[in-house]
């Protein structure tokens, strides 16, 4: 240490001794695109803390050493370094930052230039995700990258998001990608209670902190993450400070949201009308003898407590008329505030930010807020040694509502008849005599608060051992503390008669250590070599504790200290570990021929002792044809690079102890015992995905048109399958490596600069076609609900009774009796089960246009998902023709069979019979949609106006999300994804396209202000 200090001292002295020979440099900084002068540009002397800023005319003046280097930086512009070389006047034209072929791309354990890539990687930059008032950043990626299909669970805030990179590669193991933030794999899986839908730990990351996101799609790109890369890897890089003066960014947004869609249920008059019809259809029918009511009003009185108008007791049309859908959904609001400061000296750079988000959801009772702070520091200790740290602290709170499949779920209020009032007209109190539980009672008395404290921290040391050879060591810690506190009031069904409280805590600790060497050199001018080799360990530990109790003095008391009975407590823990070695070589010869080789060796605690280690190699080739001599004569083709990759990746995202024979504790009313839970599978090993990718990157007309085309085949074998076994063994499944599945598809991404004058117009279009097929699972059939996995078909096909239409003669619901579909029956139970739908889309993509004129910018993002089916489980009751008293949809009311409307879509309503009631393809709909996802209109104030206030830029903008959706889907929202409560990986993988009283996405309009100074 002492020696270092002495050296520092000497260096400082040397610097001081040279002060006498300074010269004065002046100049003007302009914008290269239009020649306008740039005020407020930072001009720094490299290696010092000195610097200045350009004035209102873009001029600067600074005293420097004759051999100094000046660094010109300005937000939105590419930083330029200029050697003074004794000059006194230096004028600089700064280029606008471009997303182009020389963009730096993070590839995992290093970076590459985009044009050198041989794998398939999609990039999203901060502008695309910053200042989004979305709880988690993945939803901002929707429609922006080819081959990445992202689906929000519902309009509830903070719910888990389904992300599929090039399709689902597994049946039993997770299909979610690996998330890596600043080099450290983090926890992204649900840690919430099994009693509600999964939540999303990625909501703890502030999107405004993100500099770039890279999605590693093919095996060559992803194989460096070996055993965990089969589902793709999403690399998130946060912002870092740059040398120069402190720059502040302040951004604030205020927005309003509303449900993007209403389904529309029957009002009082329509309800009574349809009920009367449904009753008379039965009363006059063949089962008349079994009718126990004397009239339709008698049946109504038998089943419902409703209100008649006291002045007109015989006129049923008079009385309360409740729109329960409007009670379940509401208008929301959004508020976000971000402030960041970044800058630094040649040796120390920092980025510091705090952010606050507050959202009121459109589902009655749901809201989310988050406050986060980040500090990223980089320190250059010597010429050879640098270190730094990132620290992120977040608190997020999610005020939740019951899961979609609970009577207490707000959306299930739509089942309540419109003739029942929200409040008892006599007492003015909430009506507790509704058909099912009145969700407003739940809203009034229940709460479910989830609070998460999250800390991402990592430190690194970077050491240059020899020129070109560096060693880097990174340690990271991801600590998550989660509390869930629930109270159910005494007047609710789940909380009665004297209140119920539930309290749960989760601690997740993930420690990661990465050590690796990087070697860069160019041999004989033309042989460019980049080598990486290193090791990694990860240790994840999870602890859970929960307690619950009943019996509270009143609803004011919500903590268990005040409970009197039924105390329940539980604690548990689990964990997993990985140990890995990896290596990669990037070779570039004559700036034309590219070769990448990589390999990773992974050990996992999840597998039996003999099968712990797996090896995952990958290789890829690229050829930059446009750098060949013979292409120089074809100026219209500015860039052309075919590439090919092949590699193996793994998946081990299964239960932590899946390979072992296990007994768990059991409790029979105080008698403790053990039950078998898992039959041993000592040979269990990795699931392996072999992916071949052929692609081409191109640039035409001086890169006015650039694009990528990829074709891939992803073959997964040794599927980690929870294979079904006869229950007569005492077990229902065993983990085995059985079978294969395949994803193959095309991806196209095209970027064009349509107009590049004062008016600028850029377009990005991407589309991806993925075909998923289970090719071999040993002839097994996996069925959960109506979802099925069967050989020869995509994962999660709908397999149930097929609705054969309405009998025009009598309005009977018909079902296909046999598999061939040439005979029909009125008996749903007797009908054959058939494949009636496929929830996997034919293609997904996005169409993005941005326009810029003077200070104005406009961007329009259209996102589309096409050719997939949705199973709308809720319609089993929402459109069942009064098999019970549930309110019905308007489209059923208008389209059911009547003697006059014999070609109707829906069967004749029949009270208490359920004509067509039950699960069948009557509930399956085409879910294709095109959505105007995002429209942003911004105005950046002219710089001349700002100078007096010392602002670098001021931008005001208005942004709208989900402005419009084109779809034939009759539910709330085709982007519905109800995975149920406490789903296993397998059920989450298989239950795709499920709408069950699932809330729509909000339509949001926000106004924002962004200041840089």
């Amino acid at each position: 240490m002492k020696r270092i200090l002495i050296v520092f001292g000497l260096l400082l002295l040397m610097g001081a001794s040279l002060f006498g020979q300074q010269t004065r440099v002046t100049g003007t900084v302009t914008d290269a695109s239009d020649g306008s002068t740039l005020p407020g540009v930072s001009v720094a002397i490299r290696g010092t803390t000195q610097g200045t800023v350009t004035d209102i005319n873009g001029r600067y003046e600074i005293s420097v050493q004759p051999d100094a280097v000046l660094v010109f930086s300005f937000i939105g512009m590419t930083t330029q370094e200029v050697q003074v070389q004794g000059r006194n006047i230096i004028n600089v034209a700064l280029e606008r930052e471009m997303v182009g072929l020389d963009e730096i791309v993070v590839v995992g354990y290093g970076t590459r230039l985009k044009y050198e890539l041989t794998g398939s990687i999609s990039s999203v930059r901060s502008e695309d995700i910053a200042a989004h008032t979305l709880p988690s950043f993945e939803t901002a990626l929707q429609g922006r990258t080819a081959g990445v299909h992202i689906q929000a669970g519902s309009g509830k805030l903070g719910q888990a998001v389904r992300t599929r990179v090039r399709g689902a590669s597994s049946i039993t193991a997770s299909n979610q990608p690996l998330y890596v933030i600043d080099g450290i794999p983090i926890v992204s899986e649900n840690l919430g209670t099994a009693g509600n839908e999964p939540t999303n730990p990625l909501a703890d990351i502030n999107p405004s902190d993100i500099e770039s996101i890279q999605i590693l799609k093919d095996a060559s790109a992803a194989a460096i993450y070996g055993s965990r890369a089969s589902n793709g890897v999403i690399l998130v890089t946060t912002k870092r400070g740059k040398e120069g003066r402190t720059r502040f960014n302040v951004s604030t947004q205020l927005g309003w949201s509303e449900p993007a869609n209403y389904v529309d249920f029957l009002n009082r008059e329509q309800y009574l009308d349809l009920f009367k019809t449904a009753y008379s259809n039965v009363a006059g029918g063949p089962d008349e003898n079994y009718i126990i009511w004397s009239s339709w009003t008698d049946a109504l009185d038998w089943g419902l407590d409703y209100w008649r108008d006291p002045d007109n007791p015989n006129d049923l049309t008079k009385g309360p008329d409740t729109n329960w859908e409007k009670e379940a959904l509401r208008n929301g609001a959004t508020q976000q505030f971000d402030i960041s400061a970044s800058g630094g000296t040649a040796s120390t750079q920092y980025f510091a930010a705090i952010s606050a988000l507050d959202q009121v959801g459109i589902v009655n009772g749901n809201s989310f807020d988050r406050i986060s702070g980040r500090l990223n520091l980089d320190q250059k200790a010597t010429d050879h040694l640098s270190f730094g740290m990132n620290m992120n602290l977040t608190r997020s709170r999610n005020f939740r509502v019951a899961n979609d499949n609970a009577f207490a779920s707000p959306l299930q209020m739509v089942a309540l008849p419109s003739i029942q009032p929200t409040h008892d007209p006599n007492t003015g109190l909430l009506n507790r005599r509704t058909l099912y539980e009145n969700g407003l009672v739940v809203r009034e008395y229940n709460n479910f608060d989830q609070e998460v404290f999250r800390n991402f921290g990592n430190i690194y040391v970077n050491l240059e051992i020899l020129p070109g050879l560096t060693f880097r060591s990174e340690g990271g810690l991801d600590i998550l503390n989660q509390r869930e506190m629930e109270y159910r009031g005494r007047l609710t069904n789940d909380g009665g008669p004297d209140g119920f409280a539930y309290d749960r805590s989760v601690t997740s600790k993930v420690f990661n250590l990465e050590n690796y060497f990087t070697y860069n050199n160019v041999f004989a001018e033309n042989y460019d070599v980049n080598l990486v080799a290193g090791s990694s360990i990860q240790r994840a530990d999870f602890d859970f504790a929960s307690m619950s109790a009943r019996g509270f003095p009143n609803d004011e008391f919500r903590r268990i200290a005040s409970a009197s009975r039924d105390f329940n407590a539980s604690s548990s823990g689990t964990g997993y570990r990985y140990s890995s070695f990896f290596s990669r070589a990037n070779l570039k010869f004559f700036n034309r021929y590219l070769v990448t080789l990589s390999g990773r060796m992974d050990g996992s605690s999840r597998f039996g002792a003999d099968n712990r280690w797996g090896f995952f190699p990958a290789a890829s080739l690229g050829w930059i044809i446009t750098n060949e001599e013979f292409m120089q004569g074809i100026p219209s083709i500015s860039f052309l690079k075919p590439r090919f990759s092949w590699g193996k990746t793994g998946n081990s995202e299964i239960d932590n102890f899946a390979s072992r024979g296990l007994y768990a504790g059991s409790n029979y009313a105080g008698l403790s015992g053990m039950i078998s839970t898992n039959i041993p599978s000592p040979d269990l090993k990795w699931e392996t995905t072999t992916q071949t990718n052929v692609g081409i990157d191109f640039g035409l007309f001086n890169d006015r048109i650039t694009g990528e085309i990829d074709y891939y085949v992803k073959n997964t074998e040794d599927l980690l399958l929870s294979a079904l076994v006869p229950a007569t063994t005492g077990y229902t499944s065993v983990y085995k490596n059985v079978g294969k599945l395949e994803n193959k598809g095309w991806e196209f991404a095209i970027n064009t600069v349509n107009i590049d004058q004062a008016f600028k117009w850029n377009t990005n279009f991407n589309i991806a076609f993925n075909r998923n097929k289970v090719t071999d699972i040993d002839g097994q059939i996996i069925q959960t609900g109506i979802w099925r996995v069967e050989e020869g078909h995509p994962i999660g096909i709908f397999y149930t009774k097929e609705f054969a239409g309405v009998d025009p003669e009598n309005g009977d619901a018909l079902f296909y009796l046999n598999k061939e579909g040439n005979e029909t029956t009125t008996s749903r139970a007797a009908a054959a089960d058939r494949i009636v739908g496929d929830p996997n889309p034919d293609f997904v993509g996005g169409f993005f246009n941005s326009f810029r004129y003077k200070g104005f910018d406009l961007s329009v993002l259209v996102q589309f998902v096409w050719g997939h089916d949705i199973f709308n489980g809720g319609r089993q009751w929402q459109a069942d023709g009064f098999s019970w008293f549930d309110n019905q949809t308007l489209d059923f009311y208008e389209n059911h069979w009547t003697p006059e409307r014999t070609d109707a879509k829906f069967p004749q309503p029949r009270f208490y019979q359920g004509n067509g009631y039950g699960q069948s393809s009557l509930l399956v709909f085409d879910g294709s949609y095109i959505r105007l996802k995002e429209v942003t209109l911004g105005y950046t104030l002219p710089r001349q106006l700002l100078n007096r206030a010392n602002f670098e830029s001021i931008r005001i903008f208005v942004r709208a999300y989900n402005l419009f959706t084109w779809t034939d889907y009759p539910g709330w929202d085709p982007e519905a994804d109800f995975v149920g409560t406490g789903p296993t990986n397998q059920t989450a993988n298989i239950r795709i396209g499920y709408d069950f009283y699932t809330a729509p996405q909000p339509r949001t309009i926000t106004f924002g202000l962004n200041l840089n100074f």
């Binding site: 040694l385 250590l513 240790r539 039924d566 105080g670 053990m674 079904l724 229950a727 097994q780 699960q919």
Partner: protein
């Protein structure tokens, strides 16, 4: 010069992480133990036996659908199913789906209990000698009653005098150690399954003979009396009246005769402790019960303040079965009731989610004990068996029936017919899981209700549609199984 010293230091750091890789990857589960350690000690075997006890409770078996499925399938306008669960609705319609979840869950859970029992029986030599008979007896008891559950639901009924070689259920009497070709059994004959049940329960009765035989003996688990009570049910199903009467008589004797009946019929239900009448019951408490939101029998039957879904209504035609004054037919109509303790009668007008309809108060508390066999059933069984057999083992049939009626404050009878015995059983044992067996034994029929695709049709006692399907998940995975005839 500085860096040279740092390099080795960093190398050491880097390598530290891998010093003991294999140890590092050895993570032990915290909520489970290895299967290899279970059957190595006395405690391990006893724990597995206790695990089997936990299995036979639960909403899938005795604390739920063992009771519920029977009464829904056999229901002949005694109750209305008005809930939204399609599986139960179809069961009430007598048009069950092979994919119904509750039908699969019962099958799965019963075989899980059987496998645990088989493991215990295969490892008896590890058990301390002093406890070996008890452990063996309890394990055989569990296996026997599980096969009785399976055969009564998933196979066409046993018919006395016939060879009964039709399909029963797979008969597994050895523990599973791995998935092999033997893991794919076909269905044993009904006769073979009944023979196994008799062997298991008779051996259990003998092995447990050294323990107490009254209410709550052996901590409420199996005793010779409980084994005999199930044997009585088995012999009744097989039409062996004399043996049934003898077994029932054995139980009644051990319990001390009519005097052991609770003071009122209502007193047998919603209890946290044993009553003198409990021959066999499933224990429940706050931390282990059959569930409350979507599962467990109380959930479906109750409609109280903040409790129960109120999915089962009792029909007026059922209430007409009771004469005035019969304590089993009383209805409480009081909108202020909160919990089941506020209901003194066997029926009440629901409050809470299903207000206004008639509910049974037999199942009104989530964590109350579930009576499976009550002394009243044994008395009625002895009466019926004696009546059919023309004997008076233990007591004359009329005395037995009148003992039950007297407790219910019903009028005394002077004459008896088989039909009267049936009706008395319905009054006493309705909604307790005996309706399907009684329908078969008395050769009754049931009419599919409104809503069913065969609404209005009369289904005879041996109609295939009253037999549950073999669960589709089991058919899909084991090609050696055959499906029941109504589901082909």
């Amino acid at each position: 010069m500085k860096t040279k010293k740092i390099i080795p230091f960093l190398f050491v750091l880097a390598l530290l992480g891998f010093q003991s890789c294999e140890d590092f990857l050895d993570v032990q589960p915290q909520q489970s133990v290895s299967d290899e350690t279970v059957y190595t000690t006395h405690d391990g075997v006893v724990n597995a036996l206790n695990g089997a006890w936990e299995r036979i409770a639960g909403p899938q078996l005795f604390a739920g659908t063992s009771i519920f499925h029977s009464d829904l399938v056999a229901n002949n306008n005694d109750m209305n199913w008005i809930g939204t669960f399609i599986g139960y609705r179809e069961m009430n319609w007598k048009s069950m789906s092979t994919t119904d979840g509750t039908i699969a869950a019962k099958w799965i859970r019963a075989y899980h209990a059987i496998d645990l029992a088989n493991n215990v029986l295969a490892n008896l030599e590890i058990v301390r000698e002093a406890e070996r008979d008890r452990v063996e007896g309890e394990a055989l008891f569990i296996r026997g009653i599980m096969y009785l559950e399976l055969i009564r639901f998933y196979a066409h009924p046993f018919v006395k005098g016939e060879p009964n070689t039709h399909d029963g259920v797979p008969l597994i009497i050895t523990p599973t150690t791995g998935i092999t070709d033997d893991s794919y059994p076909s269905r044993a004959t009904v006769a073979a399954v009944y023979q196994q049940i008799l062997t298991d329960l008779n051996t259990a009765k003998e092995k447990l003979n050294h323990l107490g035989k009254g209410a709550g003996a052996n901590a409420g688990r199996a005793t010779s009396s409980t084994a005999a009570a199930f044997l009585a049910r088995v012999h009744m199903a097989m039409g062996e009246w004399q043996l049934a009467a003898q077994e029932a008589d054995y139980v009644i004797g051990n319990f001390g005769g009519y005097g052991a009946l609770n003071e009122t019929p209502r007193a047998a239900f919603n209890n946290d402790e044993y009553t003198s009448e409990d021959v066999f019951m499933i224990r429940q408490d706050a931390s282990s019960h059959a569930g409350q939101a979507n599962d467990g029998i109380a959930t479906f039957f109750a409609s109280l303040q903040g409790m129960g879904r109120g999915d089962v209504n009792i029909t007026s035609s059922h209430l007409e079965r009771y004469e005035a004054g019969d304590l089993r037919g009383g209805v409480t109509d009081n909108p202020d009731i909160v919990t089941i303790a506020d209901v003194p009668t066997m029926f009440y007008i629901g409050v809470g989610t299903d207000p206004g309809n008639v509910m049974s108060s037999k199942w009104g508390k989530y964590d109350a004990n579930i009576p499976v066999i009550r002394l009243a059933e044994m008395i009625l069984t002895r009466a019926e068996a004696n009546f059919r057999n023309g004997s008076s083992i233990g007591a004359a049939p009329l005395d037995d029936i009148n003992a039950v009626r007297e407790r219910a404050n019903a009028s005394e009878w002077t004459e008896l017919t088989l039909e009267l015995i049936y009706e008395e059983r319905v009054r006493e044992l309705c909604f307790e899981g005996q309706m399907l067996e009684d329908l078969r034994r008395f050769r009754k029929s049931t009419v599919a209700p409104t809503g069913s695709t065969h609404a209005g049709q009369t289904l005879e006692w041996n109609d295939g549609r009253l037999v549950l399907p073999i669960p589709q998940r089991e058919m899909d995975v084991n090609e050696n199984l055959t499906q029941n005839s109504a589901y082909l």
